[in-house]
Symmetry: C2
Subunit: 360 residues, 2 copies
């Protein structure tokens, strides 16, 4: 509310002493008063301070560009991030909160432009932890080329949250000629995955420590908007883009076949999984096709553009292991089938129950 986007206000009133990194969050930091402003001035703004955020209004007023070119739509997506632990190999909640929402906006074919970020902080969180997260958000936002234009900070009592939750909302622009959606898959289309599956889920699981796993797997979390734009240049008729996050590849493909009323046939031997991820999954009885990813995209597109898209993916740092993994079929509509390494076929259903809670 009115205290959110604050920068140079309260000059005469706020304690001039800078907030120290060895302090902790206390309830007063969520008051909306002087302590909130000091927290924002000394921690949030140095990292996330876009011009709109620094204006200090209740809202950000931002342009979408030249009205003459505004033939199209905005793409909007939101995600609450509750991942545990906050830091893990390959990333942290800060980078995740930027990449997760940038990617969802990018799945429309849009160019992501603006993000908002809301923080729910548990009393007692060290300021140094918050600063590490904000540094990571700044870096990820720069890489994704998005501005954080509005924010909010709330503090709850110790025991009423789990360190830090971050909700981000993204806004992008979909040009008029782009029409990408889960309902657009056509029989005969190729199905591509941009890289190995399960890295994020297994990296976070290993970081939890309880299982005594010693695995050298890093989360794959990354902003994919640049790579997707590269693909669209050479494969302009992409039908579906979707990132296989919670629920993994299998659940996400089930969403798509439900929306498009088609089937998908996957070739198990083509699906890329790191050996170390495969080992952990075997050990724990997980199927990597259901494990969460945070830097992968499923691309469904006409057969004739598949090779161009693969070439573009292979030229990008986040698409080196991109592979064609299957095809869209007319029947059985609404079903994902897997042709196993033995040559048999089985139905890949959606994830039921919960395999890895708080993975994003």
């Amino acid at each position: 509310m009115s205290e959110k986007n604050t920068s140079q206000v309260f000059e005469g009133s706020v304690c001039p002493l800078p907030l120290k990194h060895d302090e902790q969050i206390i309830m007063g930091h969520g008051s909306g008063g002087g302590m909130t402003h000091r927290l924002i001035r000394d921690t949030f703004l140095p990292y996330l301070g876009s011009p709109a955020l620094r204006e200090g209004n209740d809202y950000a007023g931002v342009s979408l560009g030249d009205p003459a070119s505004l033939h199209g739509r905005i793409a909007v997506s939101t995600d609450a991030h509750v991942i545990s632990p906050l830091f893990y190999p390959g990333g942290d909640i800060g980078r995740l909160s930027i990449c997760g929402t940038v990617n969802d906006v990018a799945m429309s074919g849009a160019v992501p432009l603006y993000l908002t970020a809301s923080f729910i902080i548990e009393e007692g969180l060290p300021i140094s932890t918050l600063v590490r997260v904000l540094e990571s958000m700044k870096e990820a936002a720069a890489e994704a080329d998005v501005q954080i234009i509005a924010g909010d900070t709330k503090v709850v009592e110790k025991g009423k949250a789990d360190g830090l939750f971050i909700t981000t909302t993204g806004i992008g622009w979909i040009p008029e000629d782009v029409n990408i959606a889960g309902s657009m898959a056509q029989p005969g289309d190729a199905v591509i995955i941009s890289g190995t599956l399960g890295d994020h889920g297994i990296a976070v699981l290993a970081a939890r420590g309880g299982l005594g796993l010693q695995v050298e797997v890093q989360s794959d979390q990354a902003p994919l908007n640049g790579m997707i734009q590269d693909c669209l240049k050479v494969a302009p008729h992409i039908h579906v883009l979707r990132d296989p996050t919670r629920g993994g590849l299998a659940t996400t493909l089930n969403e798509i076949v439900g929306q498009s009323k088609v089937g998908i046939l996957l070739e198990e031997t083509s699906i890329p999984v790191r050996p170390e991820v495969a080992s952990v999954c075997e050990l724990l009885g997980f199927d990597p096709l259901y494990v969460a990813n945070e830097g992968k995209v499923i691309i469904i597109l006409p057969e004739e553009e598949a090779q161009s898209a693969l070439d573009a993916l292979h030229n990008h740092q986040y698409g080196k292991n991109a592979t064609r993994i299957g095809s869209v079929t007319a029947k059985p509509a609404g079903r994902v089938l897997l042709r196993t390494s033995l040559g048999t076929q089985r139905i890949l259903d959606v994830l039921m129950g919960e395999m890895l809670p708080r993975i994003c």
Copy 2:
């Protein structure tokens, strides 16, 4: 992420049994798999299901209108709502999460159009509680004439949150000729408040029960966008609009004098406070000028438009008690002064520390 905006997907896979209201939220509802989809299908979509939400993509693709008329900017605002308790006289977290963000967007002079809503749910929350909140959100969104176009649901373990947190982000459209901001107050401007102060804070405090207060005060939470548009019709040169939420009137006015580099002189005898709110404040040592409001707006505008604005406010259900409470002065820049009922002047500073935690 990919499971968010889901409606008709998974038809063949999801349990066809409807979710019952006597069930509770369990971790599987946050999996992104079949249980998440069932929750969304049976609780969220019946209440919040806009066309964009029902499309079931990772993003909402929505139009801003005829490109020929798109001379202007978007207004964006975000708020995390962590209020405790979830229900209180005059409202609940659902209505609050809609009104809070609609109002922040409206403070730009924009017409609010779209909202996103992210839910962080503690394991064990009764489905019936969630449904009550969603009913309330639906009603408030209809009153404010906004569509909920994207959402997300996360579940955390019992003890890792406090029932339910809701983060909403709002998007509106600011016409080209509207230029309202905290930095626009001018010496000589009139300062208006749209009604009585402190109702929300005292209603929530009383609902907590611990103080044994028996007070007949209702929260004032309301969507103010309609009333503000009425005002703009008769007072088109409004300089500043801001809702005095956390930190109350005093803190909010301090923000404005900081941004505009002006002073404000308030007349204590003009400031409307309900007798029952004043009594509780006196009992507890609170100053109603620092207590949160959720259905009030501060309007700062040229003297010559003040009466027209007051007339428009008095004609609206949420502005019956609107009053002129002071004036903008050139000096002392950055300070809010209060002329007391005794005729003396004192400085009204920002709220320091925390008076009423988790008030929004």
